[in-house]
Symmetry: C2
Subunit: 418 residues, 2 copies
């Protein structure tokens, strides 16, 4: 993409009410636009990042037998009455609206009540289990306060997978498989080292649920972290009994703040019993299947990366989620400079490298500042100087120093970090 | 995908209130699930079709300089007050809801009011124009009646592009470019021969708008069609004056019904004036840019294809939008049969062909009926008989007769129809 064609530009100002670092950076860099607190539009660069995050999740969900579907935002009241989740006293963040004929409907905040009746159409026998449908879909949650930028939205993109298993043992096996997939996913996001499996409260059907918490001072959760064992305990279940069960020594734990980027949860029969879902278990019995739910906040992950991997100059995207892999900064409009920059843009694009080409007429300082703010992993400068020396001026976004390298060397850098 | 792993199955029954042929077929084949009138979830096969339709549109929009974004469902009231579209008396299909703090918000039915303030952040000069952002996003329209299956949803997927141009001339150029892209798109969908550019009412800023109407008795619009000239006139503007302007002879027109699968519209300054959007025209003047909007109903297109290209046996997907290109029906579980079917599945999948593999233990008649209902373009049967003859039994979904062909021949059939 040539920057002269891209309709967004970097901005100096952000809305006065925007206090979250992630949103401030994303707005300045032209990735998102704030509509209201907790409600953001995704502009071309932002949508690219969001899609890359979603595609990584999709890839790993498909690899463990997930089947992608797309449920609706509009929700039928009666289904939530069946599970006692319609009342605002029970679920305090509903958005509700009405059909033209007066029928009350809700906007989906989670989809257990939507999915279970669907699955009942298809899943009748133990042979049909386990089943693991998932979606990457917009959720609505009517948060009273929404001050964390795209990390806590009123409208946000989430991956929610649900499993249906014949019994507790099968459920446990799938649950572990998904836990491992999650570890892979956060590694691919570039958040692996800062993200920890965290024991949290399990509800009625399991001792614990597992959260994936990314360490950040901007996080809303307090955790007790054992770095060596690479696990943590959420404050909500932090007590002597739990520590002894998990064989953790209080003196070895650090109190830290975390952003809950994912969670996995055993639902038991909480959403299968109310709908009367029954499965032939192959032994002449009709049994109620066991559910699990598995969330990853797609837009929250994007916010988390913006929040914790950025520096004073701007965003720093990990290779796998960056909107473009490399930015070419062309300095000046000397014929040879334009020619070499155009050629490099074409050559790289032709071999499938995603290139942002800063072909604008702007001062070098402005171009460098924009390249840093945008957070593109690799930067190449082409100028009169580099054309004369037959080298490219290369800088990695995470490094301070640039180096002069050959085209062959550039190719190598782009490959090894793929 | 092995059908033994796919959680959906074909169904005999559809909900009693489902009267639209497209939705009946899609529900029977397990592509969609009805949540309420005009609100459908997309199951794995259905989501694949929806994504293929969206990807074709994306491809053609990008090819003409479109830049994809994703705006929000939740809409700020004040923006619609600015354009006099907040009142239910003006826009009769709003869904409205409230933030927890009592602030009224709407659910987006179209996004001119959302987009223009975004563009005002970035578009300041004639150098920034034309700009053509677009999105493929869920729209909400509170239809009083919604009886056309996925062809008229209360919640549905739409591509909406908007152009901003410096003046009427530039607008006209982009408008024509998009019109041509639309013709290509409907051709790629497999709807080219049945879809006609139709003159419709233009509103305050243009004599006409242009609809893309696909002929169908299930359509809601009445058109007067000139087959030879490959264009039509919507009943709403059908009069002698218009016919004479368009140089159409009444006696050469047929009265037909059409489904409006796309439309393109000159908006003039209807949405730029109220927000005070001004552009430096390079001659020292600040001018108000001219807008156009360009819609394609992604889910409506899927419904239209299901509605008009199906036959008495079920769905018939055109090659480009089919969820899978080929279905392998394995008959029986003879070792050689299983081996050959498994091998063909692997071979085709390895070269990137999307294969649905009916590896279920089911009667041949059931498998054939399902293959027809699902509407997969190519079908190959592998049985004891075909293994012995070293041929494959091949049938195209649009043909009645099967033929025995070699593997090489199959490869050729799959290539030529790609």
């Amino acid at each position: 993409m040539k920057m002269s064609n891209m309709f967004t530009k970097t901005r100096k100002q952000v809305p006065a009410d925007e206090t979250a670092k992630n949103a401030q950076l994303l707005i300045k860099a032209g990735y998102v636009h704030k509509e209201m607190a907790g409600v953001y539009s995704y502009l071309p660069l932002g949508l690219k990042v969001l899609n890359k995050i979603a595609d990584i999740v999709r890839d790993e969900m498909n690899a463990i037998g997930g089947q992608e579907i797309q449920m609706t935002a509009l929700q039928v009241k009666e289904r939530y009455e069946a599970t006692n989740r319609w009342s605002d006293d029970v679920v305090d963040n509903w958005f509700k609206t009405k059909l033209a004929n007066g029928t009350e409907v809700g906007l989906g905040f989670s989809h257990e009540e939507n999915l279970t009746p669907i699955m009942m159409e298809y899943i009748k026998s133990y042979k049909d289990l386990p089943a693991a449908p998932y979606q990457i879909q917009t959720k609505f949650r009517n948060e009273l306060r929404s001050k964390s930028g795209i990390m806590r939205g009123r409208e946000f993109l989430m991956k929610d997978m649900y499993t249906y298993s014949l019994n507790q043992e099968d459920h446990g096996l799938y649950y572990e498989k998904i836990k491992h997939a999650y570890v892979k996913i956060f590694k691919r996001f570039g958040l692996g080292e800062k993200t920890f499996v965290t024991f949290a409260s399990g509800g009625s059907f399991a001792k614990y649920s597992h959260e994936f918490q990314t360490l950040s001072e901007a996080g809303e959760d307090t955790l007790y972290l054992h770095r060596g064992k690479k696990l943590a305990v959420n404050k909500e279940v932090y007590n002597d009994k739990v520590l002894s069960e998990l064989e953790l020594d209080k003196s070895e734990l650090e109190e830290v703040k975390g952003i809950e980027v994912g969670n996995i949860f055993t639902l038991g029969t909480k959403f299968t019993t109310p709908f009367g879902m029954k499965i032939d278990n192959g032994q002449g019995e009709a049994v109620t299947p066991i559910m699990g739910c598995y969330g990853i906040g797609i837009s929250r992950v994007m916010g988390t990366i913006a929040e914790i991997l950025s520096d004073e100059k701007g965003l720093v995207w990990p290779e796998n989620v960056a909107p473009y892999k490399i930015i070419i900064c062309r300095l000046g409009d000397d014929t040879d400079v334009v020619k070499q920059a155009d050629e490099l843009y074409k050559t790289l694009t032709a071999v499938g490298v995603e290139v942002l080409y800063d072909d604008r007429y702007a001062r070098p300082g402005e171009k460098f500042a924009d390249a840093d703010l945008l957070g593109i992993p690799h930067r190449v400068v082409i100028s009169k100087k580099t054309v004369e020396s037959d080298k490219l001026e290369y800088k990695n976004r995470t490094k301070n120093e640039s180096e002069n390298i050959s085209k062959q060397e550039l190719q190598k850098r782009l490959e090894t970090t793929n």
